[in-house]
Symmetry: C2
Subunit: 399 residues, 2 copies
Amino acid sequence: MQSHILKTNEFESLLLHKAVGSWVWDTNGKKYLDCESGMWCVNLGHNHPKTVEAIKDQADKIWHRNKMFLTPATLEAAERLLNFLPNDYDKITFLNSGSEAMEFSISFAKKVTKREKVLSLQDSYLGAYGQSKESSFTSSKQSKLKIRYPICDKTDCDCLEKHKESIDFIFKTNKDEIACFVLEPIMVSGGIFKPCASFIQYICEKTKNVGGLVVIDEVTTGFGRTGKKFGYEIFEITPDVIVLGKALGNGYPVSAVITQSQFETKCSSSELYYAQSHQLDPLGAAIVNSVIDVFAEEKILENIQSKINLLDSFFRSLTHPCIKEVRSFGMIFAIQIKSSSNMTTEEIIYTIKNKLLQEGIIIGYSTQKELIRLLPPLTIKEEEIKILKKKMLKVLSSI
Amino acid sequence: MQSHILKTNEFESLLLHKAVGSWVWDTNGKKYLDCESGMWCVNLGHNHPKTVEAIKDQADKIWHRNKMFLTPATLEAAERLLNFLPNDYDKITFLNSGSEAMEFSISFAKKVTKREKVLSLQDSYLGAYGQSKESSFTSSKQSKLKIRYPICDKTDCDCLEKHKESIDFIFKTNKDEIACFVLEPIMVSGGIFKPCASFIQYICEKTKNVGGLVVIDEVTTGFGRTGKKFGYEIFEITPDVIVLGKALGNGYPVSAVITQSQFETKCSSSELYYAQSHQLDPLGAAIVNSVIDVFAEEKILENIQSKINLLDSFFRSLTHPCIKEVRSFGMIFAIQIKSSSNMTTEEIIYTIKNKLLQEGIIIGYSTQKELIRLLPPLTIKEEEIKILKKKMLKVLSSI
């Protein structure tokens, strides 16, 4: 019974019991195009045959082991993932969630630098609890070292010029205390915003100059979501720590923290000690290996841009009194809603979401940020995009 | 390559690639009796056929979904787990790790009570990070509301009498600030200690009287590990929040937080809001269902006591100059080590661990707590116990 589930968010009454590719089915046999990729996790589509095969094969071998032992699947995943990255990294650990990996990384940066302060941007979402939440816009007790970043999509802007003084002030007054700058390349939960490259480059350079670490949260933006392999590539920066989650497991709970031995060696073994039940477990590692396989075999990154263009031009072509603005980056789309004479933004958002659900389309939404949101699987097909367009136009015309 | 793995702990050089029941195999085909149940997770043995079947079946259906939707597997797991508990609870959520579930529960208690202080016992281990770590003995900045608890295994003791004054003082000076008392029923990482029942009952009663919640960490002690279904049953107390992990997934990363609607209703929907990628996912729920099945079908709880007795009488019969004391509770065994004329406790611990590994036996150890530790699967067979006894005697006689 649904009433037994602690109400951590609103639940729809329908129940899902099957998923394939871009589609999920409810228990009445009705199917839905999942334009949220679950929780932005199944970049390769639901139940990808390769990941299903991988979990079944590994489930027959070994799921789990004591922390003293590694497994061939884990070492293979480690090596392949390090090779998958555009820059040189030589150290990795696997955990179970993006939040845990961010928590681990912030603690790691503090141990490496022997400092305590964490710098982040105003609209970042970096995790569900602890230090990662404290650095996020969802926190009630936000960390003091937040930079208000410019909302700007010009390539040739004066954002850095305008904010330089306040950035310089933060670094000047905290230079011996900054452990890390924590960056989500695109603010996704924060409303789909991309900070300017020169602005980010400047903060990263400042952080490294004062001896802090640049920690990049690629939990949502990694594995092709932005059109590039990883989100940080947009800024042409070199992170010191990279955090992966969501798409890394394509539906399975596995995350990763990637760094360099030059930082590991700054920590004592007792400082580095961390033991979590499923850290480095082979079941998750086998999924990671299959995800990397699919990216190569199906040329996911090579094929994504045409789909992004199709969706992007469609969303930007929409004109409707309730649409204030469309923002997008790669395969991340937000339609900013405005109130009408007889409906609040919240009413409009719920109406669009509910009507689309009736039409067999799952979208995301944020009443706080006043938007509807779509992060479909990177493997979405052209005919599925056509269905989405048709249903979206139908629903918008009914409002 | 092993060198790519961030050194969060010491790793053995051998690699594991197969596991069945109480056994794991390395890549050279050598097998090892796993007396640590992985990381104390596979209470039903590695790769139990029912859990393997469950993960394969569910992997064909649906792994993951957006937080807006529930699944039949999740609702079934929720209802069956609530029924599996000895007391009445009506609210549950599923997460991915015990640490995350403890973190969630401490935050939940703070939201329910609108208070901030967390009370715990001196030698508890409650989680790997955040608030749960702060309440643990592994924290460098331990919370101030710790109670030093008596190490005592008498049934008729005066521990409560001796500590009553200091407990009363804590409650008197913090009565309007205590959000919760967080209890690990047996201090497992803390060295295998069990606080006295009257002492625990008194603190729980005091906590409830001042309006705080009793949060029980059953991550290690749940699912038969103590010989009872749940560890808290030892004390005849009724927790307000129960946290499950480890054995709940028998090798799969799934955890749970269980409570009552009377507490949920004290939080606003924004306070309750929590969204994690794999919260309530059907893949984990399917494993939970299979674990509950096996507990009933194989009468795990009914069959465990004879094995506990066999192991307990064996460990307690051991006499050796390096053995200081044997402590045990249910299927949790610690052999406290003392130094000899020519070896430190650390050298003795490593020697025993290494020699047993050579003999095909995996045990746990803590150099900090100066002990070796065994938490074998509850499904360990009598012939496997015989092998363990023989190898243990062989190794001890060689030191």
